[in-house]
């Protein structure tokens, strides 16, 4: 029996049932993940390479990449800073309402993104609470690029918080206390002791936030203003193609988003693998 298990998995496992659970996992992944993606690429089959290229490099679509990627990058950076801060506060301090704050972190996941978008647009339009305060000062948020980044930041903040939080929990307060007792200042303790520990989680969380923002539609569409070349996001370009019954065109643009996202996720994974190996002195 144990020999059989060894033969099946190629390594010694304590728990049996790998074959069955692996089989179910692969089936599930195929049905839920791979099948739709294959469908997407199936749509592309109707296009020649030249047509494909023409669609994805059309001026307006390229402008939408710029808007989307730029805003997603800004949103991811904002979330990297504030997500880290939030995770830090949640892990290291005790205060009344901590559980509530912790639960609130997941709100952007629970809320339909369209609701978030409409709410943000209402708040930041010149007639809204925030917009009414900001616009006299010369900041226009709704219907500009800033609004897009804001909506992206809203929907993707949990990614950073929820990836960094458990790693911070693993790092007991004694570690930075020890550093400080050996004479390190706050900044040095953070940079040399805490940051290296949470760095992979922070990068992963920020990367996920970025990727999530690339595909966001519901939250943004209401606050973006959707002006050609200025505040049109790539997801809207896909939506427009679908409105025109141009499935192949929509898939072509979607494949670009997918490609960027996958490459980034893959890069983070590879980098993280190396990081972990280095951390454990060559074993991984």
């Amino acid at each position: 029996m144990s020999q059989l298990a060894t033969w099946r998995t190629g390594s010694t496992r304590v728990l049996p049932g790998f074959g069955l659970s692996m089989g179910i996992s692969v089936l599930f992944i195929s049905l839920v993940l791979l099948l739709p993606i294959t469908g997407l690429f199936g749509q592309l089959a109707g296009l020649s390479l030249a047509e494909y290229w023409a669609i994805i490099t059309e001026g307006r679509v390229v402008a939408s990449y710029m808007v989307t990627i730029g805003a997603a990058a800004v949103a991811a950076l904002i979330n990297a800073v504030f997500g880290l801060l939030l995770a830090w506060v949640l892990v290291r301090y005790d205060f009344p309402g901590k559980r509530l704050l912790d639960a609130l972190m997941d709100l952007p996941f629970a809320l339909p993104t369209a609701v978030a978008g409409i709410t943000l647009a209402t708040l930041y339009a010149s007639s809204g609470w925030m917009g009414g305060l900001l616009e006299p000062l010369g900041f226009q948020v709704a219907y500009t690029w800033v609004g897009i980044a804001l909506a992206m930041a809203f929907t993707s903040i949990p990614f950073v918080v929820r990836t960094v939080q458990p790693v911070l929990e693993d790092l007991p307060a004694e570690v930075d206390e020890a550093a400080m007792s050996l004479g390190a200042t706050d900044g040095v303790a953070f940079r040399r002791v805490i940051l290296p520990h949470i760095w992979p989680a922070l990068v992963t969380g920020t990367g996920l936030a970025f990727v999530r923002s690339l595909g966001e539609f519901g939250a943004i569409i209401f606050i973006a203003g959707n002006m050609p070349y200025e505040t049109e996001i790539t997801a809207l370009m896909i939506f427009v193609k679908l409105q025109e019954y141009d499935y192949a065109g929509a898939s072509a643009i979607a494949s670009v988003v997918l490609f960027v996202s996958l490459s980034l996720l893959l890069a983070i994974n590879v980098w993280q693998g190396r990081f972990v190996r280095r951390l454990h002195g060559g074993k991984g």
């Binding site: 669609i55 339009a125 219907y143 569409i221 070349y229 409105q243 025109e244």
Partner: protein, 336 residues
Amino acid sequence: MALPTIFRRSLVAIALGVTVSGTAVAQERELLNSSYDIARELFAAINPEFQAKWQEEHGEEIAISQSHGGSSAQARAILQGLRADVVTFNQVTDVQVLADAGLVAEDWQDAFENNASPYYSTTAFLVRKGNPKGIESWDDLVQEDVEVVFPNPKTSGNGRYTYLAAWGFAENEFDGDEEQIEDFMRTFLANVAVFDTGGRGATTSFIEREIGDVLISFESEVNNIRSEYGSDDYEVIVPPVSILAEFPVAVVGENAERNGNSDLAQSYLEYLYTEETQRLLAGFNYRVHNETVVEEFADQFPETQLLEVNEVFGSWDEAMETHFEGGGLLDQLQRR
């Protein structure tokens, strides 16, 4: 009429985004009407009348379900298997897509009177109290300080009508001079403050967010907004030249046959042409064809010259191809 049945049906209906109207008794025939977004209230008013009439004439109780969404999205859903028996759309092209796929008869526009359009509308303006910018017609919309709100022609049939109406106006105004028309359109499009993806979104931008000086939408929608949000705060302007917006209907033959609803579907659409329904439609601010009703509601619908898409642009297909498809005139006019 057991309560759990209704409950279960409602759950299914909610899951499908369909509202079940009328009493739900097992075994009864059910007609599914797939329609555009803002017709929800309209058909909620028409359906019970038709059900009563059918009951009276045929002694059969029937149920009617409504499914609403963007007209193109609805057409896509039917292409992908939504079993609607009839469609009541706001875009000829969206029915044509179904005809091209063989779901609707090739000659669907001859199947009912007036190009299979039981009612029609046009595009009109909603301006703020006292009309501060003095907007009366399309050429007032290209002034420098005027901000315009209408949905994106790329994603909304409503927006396409607005674009075509403005183009039609310019074509008359500049006697067909291409360069001047395009300049006019470029300025017009540059004056857009927000491009929402649909009619209701544009309404929200104009009313709730207080963006822009003028909202352009269907005359029916603009009038309904005005009566809903206060006739003191807004004024409706029907420009002297505008476009004929047809609301085409068709039986989705294949589905109706499979559902055993062919007779029902046909009668349902015919019912839209009856005097009583035409009166109801006029009450919802749609223009109708029935002469008695037209006279009754004459005050409500100012006389205006209505351009026809087929006359100005050749056909809907041609208009779509030249203006709205990727790289078409709309894209060129918006290019920076």
